[in-house]
């Protein structure tokens, strides 16, 4: 036989051995396949995202309605108005369409433009309107069709086109075609904080998956080594046994690839069916990027084999048994420090915050790389730390002593499972910190509790009286004020002059002690100044009584003059755009929807401002819940691998266990020692994970300019779940402990 | 005869008087039976005749004054004897076998024969074990030799006990 053919034979022999090993062999193969499969499914799903996002972005670009300057009115133009609204926390993409001739442009996914009083909706919106009568009442229009798939981001997108006849050149834009790309895209790649979140998120998601896969291919390794010893007895050499072992792992990894593909398809189907918002894609969008898919298909089995071979480096399989060298090799520290140190160096520049003005400077990739290196470093440092720690432990009760001695004897198996826990917990704590940091930044406005927090900015020319009348009839609206805004200009700086009473103005700044007749300034000169107004007139409002700091919500919006009615003292106010400030009874669940309904019926383009910025905060809350769920799934997986390790170790030690029972050792002592044996490494891992995770979180919080806090809730929950996993593992190992300590195991073999 | 070779061998370390020779022999080999003087002198006389020893007489004659010394021929003879393997002794027709077969032929309880024999063997083995744990290394070696032989017998007994049924079928017509 040629060398190549012999190698194939040996790999094949290994693969056959993995399935021919009876029930234990099958269990081992199933565990490896499940572990690798879960990892592969996650990897494939991540590999699918770029293509899916690109596809939905392409469709979104095809329907953009950027108006060109000076498009002449013609047979082929239409007027378009933005009627986007919200339902609950979900955004509903909406446009008003008003053709100006016989051949108006038609947005993708639409065959005929809706006539006035008609609307075309996306299937998801149609379903939502069917389920929510309140939403169905929002537009006084008949649904005459649905938007086709080529006109939607994804199946779950809420979108509509509303036929209109009220748009003017003032309130609408003129278009002669859709999909006119404008340089300087208005929807950019996202804020730096969000980019950072997604980059770090992917790293945190993938790291434990890697660690888990690496430990999955080592499931049942001891039994495999014993089988290999039997092969050595009949004459295979050390290199052959390694290839046979590689073949066994390869069988599991290939099966895992299949399992992973099936799981990924299942996940895609589930996402297609249930996902909402930005992560909803059509099935045909969800094709993994070919290069990434190829990389997964090649790299996963290759890494699995490498992990197996490197694990076998510590094991000498001899004809009459297996010798483990793990105790003779002392773990060294220095090389384990290299990666985390590089990680710290990469993360160091972030401590002063991200550059908000320059979102694509690549710093988020640097951060992601830093996080990845730190997490890998954690997995590398942990074995050393556990060894160094248990070597210094001793004394105590008998159960403690048995456990510690066992860990001193061989801590490798225990640590492998724990490094998975540690990496996921550290990553999740870091991510939780980042999420709650972003949350605290975006949600600061929502914490204010003044009246008149909601505002309506009309677009169409509807008389003020109609608005106030309609608003006062809206359920949930307690009171309404009209804020007049005059846009002035001074030395080229624009100043918004807002005229309303104290209660309505307090939305813009803290006006404690405000009385009618006063004037407040935000970043305006102290004295009486003349302002240029829009229609070439000038106006000189009274000088500010006091300079105030803007509230968080209007911070960064430039100069502002807040004028109470009495301060005008009969001075002539030029015509001004009204803003309606609404005191909404937010304790009524549907009040906000009613307000949106009133606004949309009067003027579909009117903007309803909800002070909570609830959507971002809700996204954050959802992602935190998602993170927690993900952590629990990961920890349960790791618990399963710990269980396999413990069961295997118990089986290997059944004779010693039976002898200990013969000597009258209490089951309590044995159980306690198994529990401690699992707990001590987990505890060390958790301490390290929590401290590293919290430091990472602090850096990431600083990066998004959030106050640095410690996320005790996240630490508490993840630690509690980790503790539960340890307890669960021990509890699940008890039946096999009881079985293995039966006296039958005392018999001479 | 091993006594003559033993005495001859003892002379290799230097000439000795007859009395001296007997004491040394008794100390080294004579665990159970010590030599009589007569036996020493008759053996020496035979060796003298064969030319394996010679006599160095000292002044003041008499039998006790004779010193025996080994000759070159004697040394050669001792070397040959030590190097020559002993013929293994076989006990194909041991008394025990006869007893077992007879018991089977006459319808007596053969297992009982074996069991009482085992008890007897073990009794002796216990005795030897006690002796060797009280004695020195030489005692231990000698007792162990006997113990291993007895153990061999016992193994045979166990094996025979396990095969009594087949043996009965063969010896009975």
């Amino acid at each position: 036989m040629t060398t190549i053919r012999r190698w194939f034979f040996e790999l094949g022999l290994g693969a056959r051995m993995s399935v021919a090993g009876g029930r234990a062999g099958w269990t081992r193969l199933a565990l490896i396949a499940a572990g690798v499969g879960i990892g592969v499914a996650v990897l494939l799903s991540v590999a699918t995202l770029p293509a899916a996002i690109a596809a939905s972005t392409a469709r979104e670009e095809a329907r953009t309605d950027n108006a060109q300057e000076d498009t002449p009115k013609g047979d082929n133009t239409l007027l378009i108005g933005n009627a986007t609204t919200m339902f609950g926390t979900e955004s509903v993409h909406g446009r008003m369409l008003q053709p100006e001739g016989a051949n108006p442009p038609v947005p993708p996914g639409v065959t005929t433009l809706p006539a006035p009083g008609q609307m075309i909706v996306s299937p998801a919106l149609a379903a939502l309107m069917r389920d929510n009568p309140l939403l169905a009442q929002r537009w006084d229009a008949e649904i005459v069709g649905t938007i086709g798939e080529q006109g939607l981001r994804g199946p779950a997108e809420l979108a509509f086109y509303l036929g209109a006849d009220t748009l003017t050149e003032e309130t609408g834009e003129r278009l002669d075609r859709f999909g006119f790309a404008v340089t300087g895209e208005d929807e950019g790649p996202g804020t730096p904080a969000m980019l950072l979140l997604s980059a770090v998120g992917i790293v945190v998601l993938l790291m434990p998956v890697m660690v888990f896969m690496a430990s999955a291919v080592r499931f049942g390794g001891e039994a495999r080594d014993r089988r290999l010893a039997a092969l050595r007895l009949v004459g295979s050499d050390a290199a052959m046994t390694r290839r046979i072992a590689a073949g066994e792992t390869l069988a599991g990894a290939l099966l895992g690839l299949g399992v992973g593909a099936v799981l990924a398809v299942g996940a895609a189907l589930a996402a297609n069916r249930w996902a909402s918002g930005a992560l909803s894609f059509y099935l045909y969008d969800m094709r993994p990027v070919p290069a990434l898919a190829a990389l997964i298909v090649v790299a996963v089995p290759a890494i699995a084999v490498l992990v197996t071979l490197s694990a076998m480096r510590r094991v000498v399989v001899q004809p009459l048994g297996v010798v483990r060298l793990s105790t003779t090799v002392r773990r060294r520290l220095w090389w384990r420090l290299v990666l985390p140190v590089i990680g710290v160096v990469l993360l160091w520049p972030l401590r002063n915050g991200l550059d908000q003005q320059n979102p694509s400077s690549g710093v988020e990739f640097q951060a992601a790389a830093g996080v990845a290196l730190l997490l890998i470093g954690l997995a590398l440092l942990l074995p050393w730390l556990v060894e160094a720690t248990v070597d210094r432990l001793g004394g105590g009760s008998l159960a403690w002593e048995l456990a510690i001695r066992r860990l001193q004897f061989d801590s490798g198996t225990a640590v492998r499972a724990v490094s998975g826990i540690a990496v996921s917990v550290a990553g999740v704590i870091a991510l939780q910190g980042l999420v709650s940091g972003i949350e605290s930044v975006v949600a600061t406005g929502g914490t204010e509790t003044g009246r008149f927090q909601h505002q309506i900015l009309p677009a169409a020319d509807v008389p003020d009286g109609t608005w106030t009348a309609a608003l006062s009839k809206t359920p949930g609206v307690l009171d309404t004020r009209t804020i007049r805004t005059v846009h002035g200009e001074r030395d080229g700086d624009s100043v918004a002059i807002r005229i309303a009473d104290c209660a309505a103005l307090s939305r813009y700044a803290d006006l404690t002690g405000c009385a009618d007749g006063e004037v407040y300034g935000i970043a305006v000169p102290d004295g009486r100044t003349e302002y240029q107004l829009r229609d070439e007139t000038t106006w000189t409002p009274p000088a500010p009584t006091r300079q105030v700091a803007p509230s968080a919500e209007v911070e960064g919006f430039g100069s502002m003059l807040l004028v109470t009615p009495a301060a005008l003292a009969g001075a002539k106010v030029p015509p001004a755009d009204p803003t309606f400030a609404v005191d909404l009874d937010t304790s009524r669940p549907e009040a906000l929807e009613q307000l949106r309904n009133t606004a949309a019926l009067l003027d579909p383009q009117a903007l309803v401002i909800d002070p909570g910025n609830a959507s971002v905060a809700d996204v954050m809350r959802t992602s935190r819940q998602g993170l927690l769920a993900g952590t629990i799934v990961l920890l349960v997986l790791i618990g399963a691998s710990m269980l396999v390790n413990v069961a295997e170790q118990l089986r290997e030690r059944r004779r010693v266990l039976a002898v200990l029972v013969a000597f009258g050792t209490r089951r309590r002592t044995l159980t306690g020692s198994v529990l401690l044996q699992a707990t001590v490494p987990v505890l060390i891992g958790m301490v390290m994970a929590v401290s590293m995770g919290s430091s990472l979180a602090a850096v990431l919080m600083a990066a998004v300019d959030a106050p640095v806090t410690i996320d005790w809730f996240g630490i508490g929950t993840t630690s509690a779940v980790a503790a539960l996993v340890v307890l669960g593992t021990t509890a699940a190992a008890l039946p096999s402990l009881m079985r293995l300590t039966r006296p039958g195991n005392l018999r001479n073999e | 005869m091993s006594v003559s070779f033993a005495l001859l061998g003892l002379l290799e370390n230097g000439p000795r008087h007859g009395y001296d020779l007997k004491r040394t022999y008794d100390d080294t080999f004579g665990r159970d039976r010590s030599l009589h003087y007569g036996q020493v002198y008759s053996t020496m006389a035979r060796l003298l005749k064969n030319g394996h020893v010679e006599v160095e007489s000292e002044p003041g004659d008499g039998p006790d004054r004779k010193r025996y010394a080994i000759t070159d021929a004697g040394i050669t003879d001792v070397a040959e004897w030590i190097a020559r393997p002993e013929k293994p002794e076989l006990y194909l027709q041991s008394t025990l076998y006869t007893k077992v077969v007879l018991a089977l032929l006459t319808g007596r309880d053969a297992a009982e024969v074996l069991d009482s024999q085992r008890a007897e063997h073990l009794r002796l083995m216990r005795e030897l074990t006690r002796r060797k744990s009280a004695g020195d290394l030489a005692d231990e070696l000698i007792c162990d030799h006997a113990l291993f032989h007895l153990e061999a017998d016992l193994r045979w007994l166990e094996l025979t006990a396990a095969r009594l049924d087949r043996l009965a079928a063969q010896v009975k017509p």
């Binding site: 004394g395 008998l398 002593e401 048995l402 001695r405 066992r406 001193q408 004897f409 061989d410 004779r655 010693v656 002898v659 200990l660 029972v661 013969a662 000597f663 009258g664 050792t665 209490r666 002592t669 006296p743 005392l746 018999r747 001479n748 | 069991d115 085992r118 008890a119 063997h121 073990l122 083995m125 216990r126 030897l128 074990t129 744990s133 162990d144 113990l147 291993f148 007895l150 153990e151 016992l154 193994r155 166990e158 396990a162």
Partner: protein, 227 residues
């Protein structure tokens, strides 16, 4: 003689599936005597030993120790008895591999609640007594087979048990090491007054006993204790 017995089994029956391991076995052990349990492989020797030690419960019959019925005890009571009154030596693989030899010997004492320090001091004395004081700090894997068995003997005797159960204690050793283990074992047992139940198929090992009992087909032929 039954009334004088420290440990006795009467008419024990126990089957593993189809196989009758014990089929009416009876045995009596007096305080301080060494009884050898002999018999071919699979005759039920080890099963009888496990029943006598309260590790296995017979299906019928009675095991009595110092007038107490073992078969009527709960598992934890029997465990307590094994901790305090019994000691064990097996053929191999009985030492906890990750504990040092000293810690292994100290184990029974610590199981009975002796402090770590006192247990280690007593264990050290026992290792010296069995001439293996030099392996005290080593793990069993670093000691030779003979040394390991002597460590095991020290562990069986360290808590001053009244009965030591030894199941082929020299089975994995060569003659010389076997001799040494038996010599030190029996001497130490006699000195402490412990009775020994010695399972062996080797006559030379059985010769260290005071009397023998032969197990065959789950039954015991017990030699009368004549002295």
């Amino acid at each position: 003689m039954t009334d004088q017995a420290l440990l006795s089994a009467e008419d024990l029956h126990l089957s593993f599936g189809e196989t009758k391991a014990l089929d009416g076995a009876s045995l009596h052990v007096r305080a301080g005597e060494v009884v050898a349990l002999m018999g071919p492989s699979g005759s039920g020797k080890s099963t009888l030993l496990h029943c006598l030690a309260g590790i296995l419960s017979p299906e019928s019959g009675r095991v009595a120790y110092a007038g107490r019925d073992l078969t009527a005890m709960s598992d934890s009571e029997r465990s307590g008895l094994r901790r305090g009154e019994f000691g064990f030596v097996f053929q191999f693989g009985q030492l906890v591999p990750e504990l040092t030899c000293l810690e292994n010997v100290a184990l029974p004492l610590r199981l009975s609640g002796t402090s770590r320090r006192a247990a280690h001091r007593i264990a050290g004395e026992w290792l010296d007594r069995l001439e293996v004081g030099d392996v005290a700090g080593k793990r069993p894997g670093q000691a030779s087979g003979g040394q390991g068995q002597r460590v095991a003997v020290a562990r069986a005797l360290v808590a001053k048990p009244r009965v030591v159960f030894a199941d082929e204690p020299t089975g994995a050793l060569d003659s010389l090491n076997g001799e040494l283990v038996m010599k030190l074992f029996i001497a130490a047992a006699k000195e402490t007054g412990a009775a020994v139940v010695l399972v062996t198929h080797e006559a030379r090992v059985a010769a260290w006993s005071d009397r023998e009992a032969v197990v065959r087909d789950g039954k015991v032929r017990e030699q009368e204790y004549a002295r």
